[in-house]
Structures are given as C-alpha cells and as structure tokens.
Amino acid sequence: MIRLQAIERRFAVGDEAVYALNGVSLNVEKGEYLSIMGPSGSGKSTLLHIIGLLDRPTAGQYWLAGKDVTGLADEERAQIRREKIGFVFQLFHLVPRLTAAGNVELPLTLAGLPREEREERVREILAAYGLSARARHVPSQLSGGERQRVAIARATVTRPEILLADEPTGNLDRGSGREVTGIDRVFGHP
C-alpha cells in the first residue's frame, strides 16, 4: 500500500543543510498498523507529512497503492489526500467557528458529496464516537478528549484507505488521555 524508498528530506537552515529524513525506506501493507516512535526532532512528523502528501521528499521515491506519487502535481496530490488519506493532527486543528458536526462534515463537503448524504454520514459517525449530544457544540465547548474524537471522526468520515495520526494523544493531559476511546476503536489497540 505504502512504499517508500531511500526517502530524504533536507531543509536549508542558513547555509547549512539539515536532514530531517535520510534514506528512509519502508513498506506498509493494507490493513497493517504501524507505530513510529522516536525522540522529539527525529523526523516522525516529517515522515507522516511525506506519506500524507503534504510535503515532498528532496530525494527518493514514494509509491502509493502501486502508483508513483513522488512527482505528482499539487492538484493530483490534493485529490489523493481527499480520497485516500485521513489525518489526525497533534493539535487536532478543529475550525473554531464550526460545530463538531460542521468540522466532521468538512472533508465530505470538500469531496463534493450531496448534503443529505453528508448529514447522514456525520450523524452516523458522531453517534459511533459518542458525540451525538455534542454535535452542535463548537470546539471551545468540548473537552480535550471530545475534541480528539471529533478530529478522529473527521479523519475517518470519508472512509480513507490510510489513516495517519501524528501523536494524537500528545496534546491531552493524563485524564483526557485515558478518556480517549477513539484511537482504540480505530486501531484496535489501547
């Protein structure tokens, strides 16, 4: 499903070149669950950004579902993100003025689904994550754990083939971390 070969991501800091990733090769099959661990600054987020087609490697090749996506144009990369990839960000990045339902609906709107179908799917997924009562609340009215579940619901509502989560519990305190049930449910791991 995901195949990276000799991926390199170099940043220019002043005159110096700094490597966030250097020669990373990796294979992830469909249905596989992969956890990447490492100290802060080791390039975990950069790797996720490249896999999620938000960033481009400076060298190496990337095949997604058998297709070389390394040199794709921006528009095609956006289309793949829309159709195949779900993101859960460390800071959740919920739109503050949209309700929980509105946030979850966003990727469906971008995909161009009709309104009735969107509302139906949002209702279903909010119920699945125990957020039905919170549908009309804006992020500032939600707890940390609820926000995370909204973020996960948003990442999975399009039924993506790939779900990328960048330290999804990193922004929660211990209590909220325990409250998290979304990640467990999606990945089947505690």
């Binding site: 950004h49 938000l54 528009e75 289309q79 793949i80 990045h93 003025r97 990727p107 971008l110 161009g112």
Partner: protein, 401 residues
C-alpha cells in the same frame, strides 16, 4: 466542493468575524450610495434645467443679430458689422408658412417709479404675441393689446416683484407708472413666473415694442422670438428665417438662429457630462472600498492560516481555496453594493421630499455601473489575497508559521 457549499462556507466565514465583515460592507455601501446620490443630483439638475427650457415650448426660434461663428478660423479682416434687426425684419418672417407668430423683443433698463417709490427695472418691448410665445400667465388685467406694433401705446404690464415693490398692498391696475421720462398706464400684472432663460420675469416691465424703441431711442431689436407651426416645421422655419433675413440684409447672413431644441440639446450634453464627472469622482470611493476589502482580507488570511492549512491537508485544491476567498470578497462587495444602492435610493427619496421641484433620480446606467464597479472592484482586489491563501504551504500554515 459544490458551488452552493462554497457560498455557504464563505457566508459562515464572514459571519464568524462580524466586525470585520460589517466594516467592509459599510465601506462598499458608502461608495455605491455616493455614486447613486451624486448621479441622482446631476441627473436631477439636468432634468430640471431641460424641463424649464422645454416648458417654453419646443418649437421656439430665437433670432439674434450677428452671426456666431462655430466653424473656427480667423474673423474677417474687413469687419462685417451685422445689421440691426428691425421690426420689418421681424414681421417679414411671417411670410414663411412654417412660422405661426413672431414677437420682436427690445430689452433695456430704466428706472420705474410710482409716486415716491422708484426702482430699476428691466424693460421688455414686444407685442401681444410675446405672451403666447413665452406662455406667460397673468395675475390681473390683460396683456399688451393687439395694436399696430409701430404704434407707441403708453401701456405696460408689470412683473410680480415690480408690482409688489412699487405698489405694495395698493391696486396697480389703472395706475400710471413712470419709466424713464415716459408715463405708462398699468393694464396687467404677470403671475409670478420665476427665472426663465436667464431673465427674471418677475422683475420686468413689458411695454409695446414701439414704446420701448422710443424710450431707449433705438430702432434695433434685441432679438426676435418666432414660433414654428409645429415641431416638424422647425427646420423649415430655421431655413426660412435665415433666407428671409438674408434677402432683407442684401444677401448677407448676419443673424444667428437658435432653436429651443438646440439649447436643450446643449444643456443636456453639459449636464450629462457633469453627471458623468461626479459619477467618476464617486467611483473613486468604490475603488477605495475595493482596496479596503483587499487589506482586510489579507489580514483575515494571516489570521486564518491554520484553517487554510487544514483545508489543504483535507484535500482542498489551491483553486478551491482561491475560490473560497474570492467568493467571500464577491459576497461582501455584492451585499455592500446592494446595501449602498438601497441607502442611495433612500437618500434620493428624502431629497425628493425636501426639494420636490428638483426631479432627483439616479440614472439607470449609474445604478448598474455602481453595482458592477463595486462588485468588480471587490472581486478584483480579492484576487491577490485569494492567491496568497492558495499558495500557502499546508504544513507551515498548520503550524501557524
């Protein structure tokens, strides 16, 4: 993303920042309202002035002594002194079948007095037809009698102001007033007429043309007013007037014939140009509103970098992001422009209540133009911010950098 969704998302974004949105709306509304109001004023003035002239009768000819050269070039070296227009010239015009009636006009100024009261008054010497040609209304008595125009009858008709100032509350009819060194019996008083073609008819004393010639000791006419039989006869009447006078002036065309239509046409053009000018000046405020929208949107984009980054991460193409921001700019400017048009029309309505005589009305082109320029400026100035938003790098935008 569907069109309706783009609109809904933009409306939601605008509602999310009410102060910012209202400020931009107000800027655009003021610009459009300014265009509507100012062009309504210009158009009102145009209609007022041309209406005033049209009320004099649309088939009026004015024959002036002297030829006004409109073709340019140097004046003749050997001076062509125009011949004066005479009473005979005036009545010769009646030979044309296109001309129904003529009124010779002598104009001068003389002290008018009654008992101890005296004032300077414009004295018009003419004939009975002057009343018909100029549509004069009488308040009292009757107009100049139908007599031989060469006969200097000692009668006069007073303008409303002259009557009021000389006689006050006393009856004027039948009294003798002194004009210069002559005495005239008041046989009529004009109803208040107001200013018409630069002459305040309330401030005049009208006497028979021969009396005025005697009073000013001059046989020449100030001008001849002639009325064509109909609008269709107008051009024939102009040609005939020129021809008849040329024949009488030894083949020299030394008069200028002005038609009411030409005067109205000229005034019409002048006022249209004036309206266009004020529209242009007011249009600048629309551009200013557009620039304000651009500034505020640039600020909005830097404030919503995270959201833009998120939309990109969720798979929104750059074109869509651009469209979202253009839709915001378009919605704002359209709403603002419509609001401004409404405000402008309310202003026009208030103006009409305050000054009923002035037919205030914004021309249709100004309404359409103001709306189009307003919305156009909003969208045009929205392009730069929208492109900037579309170019944001999603990772940097998400991290707030």
């Amino acid at each position: 993303m569907r069109g309706a969704d783009v609109l809904r998302y933009s409306v939601h974004a605008l509602k999310g920042y009410p102060v910012r949105s209202v400020l931009m709306l107000v800027a655009m509304a003021i610009g459009v309202a300014a265009v509507v109001l100012l062009t309504a004023l210009g158009e009102g003035a145009r209609r007022y002035v041309t209406g005033q002239f049209a009320s004099l009768g649309s088939h009026l000819l004015v024959i002036l002594p002297g030829r006004s050269e409109t073709t340019g070039g140097h004046p003749p070296i050997l001076g062509e002194t125009p011949r004066d227009l005479t009473l005979d010239d005036a009545f010769a015009l009646l030979r044309s079948m296109h001309i129904r009636r003529v009124a010779p006009v002598v104009l001068g100024s003389a002290p008018a007095s009654w008992r101890r009261r005296e004032r300077e008054a414009s004295v018009i010497g003419s004939t009975a037809d002057f009343q018909r040609i100029r549509y004069l209304k009488l308040a009292q008595g009757h107009f100049l009698p139908e007599i031989d125009p060469r006969k200097a009858a000692a009668v006069c008709v007073l303008g409303a102001t002259v009557r009021a100032e000389l006689f006050g509350p006393e009856a004027a009819l039948g009294q003798w007033v002194r004009l210069g060194d002559r005495r005239f019996r008041v046989i009529g008083v004009l109803a208040p007429q107001g200013v018409s073609i630069g002459l305040d008819l309330d401030e005049v004393v009208i006497v028979p043309v021969a009396s005025a010639q005697a009073l000013f000791d001059s046989p020449s006419l100030f001008r001849i007013l002639a009325e064509a039989r109909s609008r269709e006869d107008l051009s024939g009447a102009v040609a005939a007037s020129r021809e008849i006078i040329r024949d009488r002036h030894e083949g020299e065309e030394d008069v200028t014939v002005i038609t009411q239509d030409a005067v109205i046409g000229t005034l019409d053009r002048i006022f249209r140009a004036l309206t266009l000018t004020v529209a242009g000046i007011a249009g600048v405020s629309l551009v200013v509103a557009g620039i304000l929208i651009m500034n505020v949107m640039l600020v909005a984009i830097s404030e919503s970098r995270e959201e833009i980054g998120l939309l990109k991460a969720l798979g929104a193409a750059s074109g869509k992001i651009q469209l979202l921001f253009l839709a915001e700019a378009g919605l704002l400017s359209l709403t603002g422009a419509l609001l401004g048009a409404g405000l402008g029309l309310i202003g026009v309505w208030i103006g009409r209540q305050l000054y009923p005589a002035l037919p205030l009305a914004p021309p249709a082109w100004a309404m359409a133009g103001a709306l189009a320029v307003g919305v156009g400026a909003g969208i045009l100035f929205g392009v730069l911010p929208a492109r900037r938003a579309a170019r944001l790098d999603p990772i940097q935008a998400l991290s707030g950098r």
